[in-house]
């Protein structure tokens, strides 16, 4: 009889929490408890859903009584505009969850962060290693919150060395269903780029993000890891492959425009989902730790992901309820996979062979 590993996934009603929870539920030997303040839009089978805010002080008690061994904390509000509410959930929420994990003696915690925390500066080396000081910009809400969370985690590692804290830093994420700053940048016609600048950039496919988080939960490695597709592409090429016509603005005007919009209180999020500096300088992460210590290899290259994205963009206006269909497709894929594994397991039990743990 195998041991059941109990994993808690927070932010289960959000996109990443939902996908990670569903992916984990399909793993044999994993019991998933999903937590979120709101109910998820679709139900996930085989998952224990508990409606609670992560900032609730009794979360520690819940973790303890349920015997949670690993926590994947994905409760995060990636807003462009800085706000107290977002800060409270993102930073204070993470602090409270980590505190609860330390109190309850959880062995492993995995967080999702971004390579944006390094900051896009002209003095950046071509490949940034994880141990460099984090100088991410403070202007946009999500980068500011990630930098704050990572700063807290640094201290946390010293306070609670028994908790294996793994932070995965992802670059721009693209894919058929995800809604991220990068997909908004590449998907809209009105998001400008800077004339005369063409930095090298990394990307990662949404499926690989989910796989990486699941892989990290099961691995012994701890610390921060850059996780990205191995090919590094210039921004011009990314735009070309994604099928986005270039809207190039001379950089002084672009910065003035951004300043004006911000000053006037108009939303920057729709015009500049990615901060301008990140379209000007390089912020590419070195992948050696991901390859050697974490032992994770993304399945999609950036080029493949972009071509897939471009195809979907071209047919987007002809699709109805594209998101729901996309999710439905994803769910069907997982169900088919789950049933196939269950059949395999059944077959091996019947033949009396020893069933090892699932391999990816």
């Amino acid at each position: 009889m195998e041991e059941q590993k109990t994993v808690l996934v927070t932010g289960a009603a959000g996109y990443w929490g939902h996908r990670v929870a569903r992916r984990l539920a399909s793993e044999v030997g994993t019991r998933v408890i999903a937590l979120d303040a709101e109910e998820p839009a679709e139900e996930i089978e085989d998952i224990d859903f508990i409606q609670a805010d992560v900032r609730n002080p009794l979360v520690a008690k819940l973790i303890e009584t349920e015997g949670v061994e690993a926590v994947c904390h994905l409760a995060f509000r990636p807003d462009v505009r800085r706000s107290e509410a977002a800060f409270d959930l993102n930073v204070m929420g993470t602090m409270k969850v980590l505190g609860a994990c330390a109190e309850a003696g959880v062995g492993k915690v995995v967080l999702k962060s971004s390579t944006a925390v390094y900051g896009a500066r002209r003095s950046n080396s071509a490949f940034l290693r994880e141990d460099r000081p984090l100088q991410g910009s403070r202007r946009y809400g999500y980068t500011r919150d990630w930098v704050e969370v990572e700063a807290f985690c640094n201290g946390f590692r010293h306070q609670a060395p028994d908790v294996e804290l793994t932070i995965l830093r992802f670059p721009g994420i693209i894919g058929p269903t995800a809604d991220t700053p990068m997909t908004r940048f590449l998907g809209e016609l009105s998001t400008p780029s800077l004339l005369g600048f063409d930095p090298m950039m990394q990307l990662i496919h949404e499926d690989d993000v989910v796989e990486a988080l699941v892989h990290a939960l099961g691995s012994d490695a701890s610390g921060a890891f850059n996780v990205a597709a191995e090919d590094v592409l210039p921004l011009n090429k990314i735009r070309g492959l994604a099928g986005k016509p270039p809207l190039l603005i001379l950089h002084p005007f672009a910065y003035w425009g951004a300043g004006f919009l911000r000053g006037a209180g108009l939303g920057l999020g729709s015009f500049m989902p990615i901060e301008l500096d990140y379209l000007r300088y390089s912020w590419v992460g070195d992948l050696m730790r991901m390859q050697q210590e974490l032992g994770f290899a993304p399945r999609h290259t950036a080029e493949e992901a972009l071509r897939e994205f471009a195809e979907i963009q071209r047919t987007r206006r002809f699709r109805l309820e594209s998101t729901a269909l996309g999710r439905g497709e994803q769910r069907m894929r997982d169900i088919i996979e789950q049933r196939r594994r269950a059949r395999e397991q059944q077959a091996s039990i019947e033949t009396g062979s020893e069933e090892g743990y699932e391999d990816e």
Binding site: R122, A126, F197, P199, M200, V232, L241
Partner: protein, 401 residues
């Protein structure tokens, strides 16, 4: 006519179509009229080599077709194929053309129509590929390495740099063969001229004169990433920002890296300080070499100082504009941007003997004494090389020998 040898008749066909009836010259199959223009009847290429070449051609065509299933060449005809081959060879010299045509002719002697059609496809595709250059930039159908090096851009800018090298500055290069054909090496050079043309010329010197045509990956200052157009062009030409991480990584990938330790101090020198080497920084370049065991090759560039006669360096104006220096020359800023045109001085680039660093070991990079010692050694070597060259130079603008 001796009775021991058998005279045979010339095997050429005359203009009227009949067999030539003259006797051949000894040792060949042709008579004295036909011999000079005939291609040797005996190909040096064996049957297997011809077959191997044909097989390679077929495989190449299949691969190209597989990558670009959408492409349709114009309709095939042998005459058009021959014309296309002739056109493609237009830029080549006589000997290059013969060198290409001889083996191709023997290889194609027995080839089938399919391979010929394949060659037609490939030649047309290559032409179309080059014509589509701009279109492919817009659709993202081009490749760069992980640093951003784009060989098509290098090939595009190479003629311009070569023209500067050969015609404008008439650079004379010595010692370039001391650069290894492959494997890591670190070029250390003096830096001068208000604009870093010397980096371009050193790169062109190695690429044009070195037998292996190596690409020099120079490390540039952090002034470039914030300039539009320059920021991405230097990257596409294979250069990287001057940080220790970048230098170590490039050297570990066995690239040829160039560093200019004088930096802004060197480039902003006024005319009265010409050829006096500024301080070589804190020896960061020595640490690069020690960490990776790369040999240090000193380079002395003479002639770049005279591209701009800098009389004075206005630091206050520079600070206002945001540049590290603002040179005042007899023509800049008085003639505006025209004052930025460099003078056509005669350049000399001398590559010195490599200084090996392998035996010191990786940890020696932390040995500050060794680092200072090597840094001084390299600086003195370059200063001596400069002095030697300056002593022999009698004219600023014309050849001195």
């Amino acid at each position: 006519m001796s009775s021991e040898e058998t005279r045979i008749r010339c095997t050429a066909i005359t203009k009227s179509g009949g067999q030539c009836r003259l006797y051949d010259i000894e040792g060949t199959e042709y008579c004295q009229i036909h011999e000079p223009v005939a291609v040797p009847a005996e190909p040096d290429v064996s049957e297997e080599e011809i077959r191997a070449l044909q097989a390679e051609l077929d495989e190449l065509v299949l691969r190209v077709r597989a990558l670009n299933t959408g492409y349709e060449p114009p309709s095939f005809s042998l005459r058009r194929l021959v014309r296309l081959v002739a056109e493609s060879m237009r830029g080549m010299s006589e000997s290059e053309r013969l060198a290409l045509l001889e083996p191709l002719r023997s290889a194609l002697a027995d080839v089938d129509m399919e391979t010929l059609k394949g060659i037609w496809y490939m030649l047309n595709f290559t032409v179309q590929y080059q014509v589509d250059f701009v279109k492919r930039r817009f659709t993202g159908d081009y490749d760069t390495d992980e640093w951003g090096l784009d060989w098509e851009i290098v090939d595009l800018m190479r003629p311009f740099f070569t023209a500067l090298y050969n015609t404008y500055w008439r650079v004379e290069t010595t010692g370039v063969e001391q650069i290894p054909d492959e494997g890591r090496a670190l070029l250390i050079s003096n830096h001068s001229g208000q604009i870093p043309w010397d980096t371009v010329m050193v790169g062109t010197a190695v690429m044009n004169e070195h037998p292996a045509q190596r690409l020099v990956r120079g490390l540039y200052s952090d002034l470039f990433p914030s300039l539009p157009w320059f920021s991405h062009t230097v990257v596409k030409l294979g250069q990287a920002l001057a940080t220790e991480d970048n230098g170590v990584r490039l050297l570990e990938q066995d690239e040829l890296v160039a560093v200019y330790p004088e930096g802004h101090k060197g480039i902003a020198k006024t005319y009265k300080d010409r050829y006096r080497l500024a301080r070589f920084g804190r020896g960061g370049f020595v640490r690069l070499a020690l960490k990776t065991g790369a040999p240090i090759i000193p380079v002395a560039v003479v002639g770049a100082e005279e591209t701009y006669i800098t009389l004075y360096n206005s630091t206050s104006v520079a600070r206002v504009i945001g540049l590290p220096s603002f040179p005042i020359t007899p023509i800049f800023p008085w003639l505006g941007l025209l004052g930025l045109v460099p003078l056509p001085s005669k350049w000399y680039i001398d590559f010195g003997q490599p200084i090996p660093t392998e035996d010191y070991g990786e940890e020696s990079a932390d040995n500050q004494v060794l680092v200072s010692q090597l840094s001084d050694q390299v600086r003195n070597t370059i200063q001596e090389m400069l002095m030697d060259r300056l002593a022999a130079r009698r004219s600023l603008f014309f050849t001195s020998s």
